[in-house]
Subunit: 472 residues, 2 copies
Amino acid sequence: MTDAEAQLIEKAGRKLGPKAVITDPKEIEPWISDWRGRVHGASPAMLAPASTDEVVAIVRLAAEHRVPLVPQGGNTGMAAGATPPADGSAILLSMRRMNRIRSVSAENRLAIAEAGVILATLHEAAHDVGMRFPLTLGARGSCTIGGLTSTNAGGTQVLKFGTMRALVAGIEAVLPDGSVHNGLSGLKKDNRGYSLDQLLIGAEGTLGLVTAVALRLVPAIAARAVAWIGVDSPAKALELLRFLEARTGSIEGFELVPQDSLDLVLRHVPGTRAPLAGAHKWHALVEATTADPASDVAAELESLLAAAMQQGIIGDAVLAANETQAEAFWKLRDAISEAERAEGQTLAHDISVAVADMPAFITEAAAKVEAAFPGVVASGFGHLGDGNIHFHVRAGSHAAPDWYDAEGKKITRLVDDLVTAAGGSISAEHGIGQLKRAEFARLAQPGRIHALRAIKQALDPLGIMNPGKLVP
Amino acid sequence: MTDAEAQLIEKAGRKLGPKAVITDPKEIEPWISDWRGRVHGASPAMLAPASTDEVVAIVRLAAEHRVPLVPQGGNTGMAAGATPPADGSAILLSMRRMNRIRSVSAENRLAIAEAGVILATLHEAAHDVGMRFPLTLGARGSCTIGGLTSTNAGGTQVLKFGTMRALVAGIEAVLPDGSVHNGLSGLKKDNRGYSLDQLLIGAEGTLGLVTAVALRLVPAIAARAVAWIGVDSPAKALELLRFLEARTGSIEGFELVPQDSLDLVLRHVPGTRAPLAGAHKWHALVEATTADPASDVAAELESLLAAAMQQGIIGDAVLAANETQAEAFWKLRDAISEAERAEGQTLAHDISVAVADMPAFITEAAAKVEAAFPGVVASGFGHLGDGNIHFHVRAGSHAAPDWYDAEGKKITRLVDDLVTAAGGSISAEHGIGQLKRAEFARLAQPGRIHALRAIKQALDPLGIMNPGKLVP
């Protein structure tokens, strides 16, 4: 612990009380590594403010003592963006005690939630007033509103409702100079200069600390229909999506699953079974929803799928007969990563290209990677309708135990090169954090890197906001 | 003309040819004042690049000679954001020759338009492929995509589709260092750091020059229904909007018109007539649309309005019987500013508060302004559903000819104070430009001003991008 850190911790304890300053290593330990256990950090203390005023006090101390802060929500990120540096040179800032939902209004279609509110808690609060916060993802029971905002999180309902960027109506944040940016007024139109709200979304805590967020709500779901569909190729899957979107506004989830991934799930995840009898090279999981109790979304989806089958777009399809089956279909999709881990070493890439280009990209990139690294298995699954798939490369059964460390970087470089050549993004929804920083620096347009560095330096000249993250 | 300007003009002429460098004062003259004739600028030349490469060359010359550029599209802005300084110290940059629509795709639901493309031209191009670019406003025949983007323009369809911020899928821009930011790939998900696209939207050309924009398209309208409705108060109008929105997704326009404004239009605009027989204190203009040819949007709106009348929400209503009548209803709304000008001096304020607060704000603010400045007439009209009204104050019949100059600033200060006290914005959709800069400086949170200045200084250290605009 440096002298500066010791002084900050001592002053914070006096100002904020013992609840807000945790120095017991056992209490800190669960939070200093990223949840996948890939990156291990260290911190002499974990500060846990309970209010915006307390965050202001902490930022002022951080500036005074030149000690950087590493903000953290549920610690469920995929890019180690909330993990402190290993040398203990920064202090962990848990936002989890800021967990009040300040307001939920069906009339205004807005909720104001503090940064530490867990996504599932917000879902319930919206549901209680007959509304819905549509963004959801696997970590919903742990991830927080502050983290979701700071990483511009996506998930499975982006197709219809967009990422956090589209769902945030305003942000309250403590800026590096200790001032409070208050954008919570819920104005639908406000053209007073650069949007600090939009700048903070996806900034991974490097420009300020998000303390509360105004979030758009939509009417609650009255009914949903979930279908599992067999198709010949990603191109056919996209054709199906276009076919459906041209005929209904109810499609809100559209996930692509290769047979290979389905096989892994069926092999490793207990209680799973294939929805369709025959074999299909690819599968689409489609969810249609309606907020209108009078609308029969299942009948609509069924008749559209029958038409798609008649036109030769799809091979086979089955509608979930009830909610249990619908959940079982989703489980097949959600368990892919778990099944891959059970099978062996896997390299994950969260990438995007233009939606229209994705079918060709999946097929061609997988072939190139498998040719360049014999024995590996490459496949893409996920959010086809967003042009965002998780392009995973598995070691294959014969790989050496150190395959991940020995080959991983080379394979990732090839994938990232292919994505960049296709005009895509090496980080579609997971962010840059620590893990993608080098690749971002290698592949980004130089003018872009320059602009990002200039903005970071301008707003955080002392470098106290989440050092070593995002900005190369 | 300074030596630096002369050198820049000479070099630009050699590099870009005579078409791109206009020095004839007669050709420049129509563009150096804002369209309302309030602010008069001067410039020794007007540069008119025809490609992104030419814009890069101009930015490099501007940086080399430290001569600022004032970008301009259709010159239809309301805040003099495209008018050069009066001392001739900056060079006008017309983007109007960059007028290519690079692509329109119904399949991708995207168009890529250069900065100088006129909004109406984009509307037609989208229509030609069976799609629609939903943003529209009075200046659609002159305003350009670059200007709309740089001012985060709104208009009358924001209720359903949002402002430019929601409709821009990506931006190509030349940054102050001469590098090109290319965000046109149309990625639906991209989390590679701060969003330069979002930073450039609404930046009024102070951080870089928008050269092309990828824009989201929506399915073309199959049918629309337009209704004129009499209500007792703004609160009843909002109640009607909530009533409709809870029952249909088809409402895309909802404008509030006071009887007082309608009277002015009927008095001063030839060929107009009142849609309803009886007298009503307030009116709502409602537009419902559908992209589904099978949906009878007129019948739906009619039955919803009948139900609203039965519940005592509205006093009377009439549906436009055909497109001609629908256009006539819209004309009553669109001609308010014209009618006010015919009546006498008018002070316009483009303001917003939270939607739920707007009915009370309109009534209370008008009463306060009329009490503080006896003889004036204050009223609000416009986009109630966006929490954005145009709060206009008329001199009244007995005001002195110099009323606007003598009293204007005092009245505007009171209006802006009332808006700020209500947590609202002194610029909802028109931007800050030159005209609102002093009030913005007076009323903004100090931390916000500091952040805006820091960003401006970081990205444009030489101050060559639209000097004297937006940033106080």
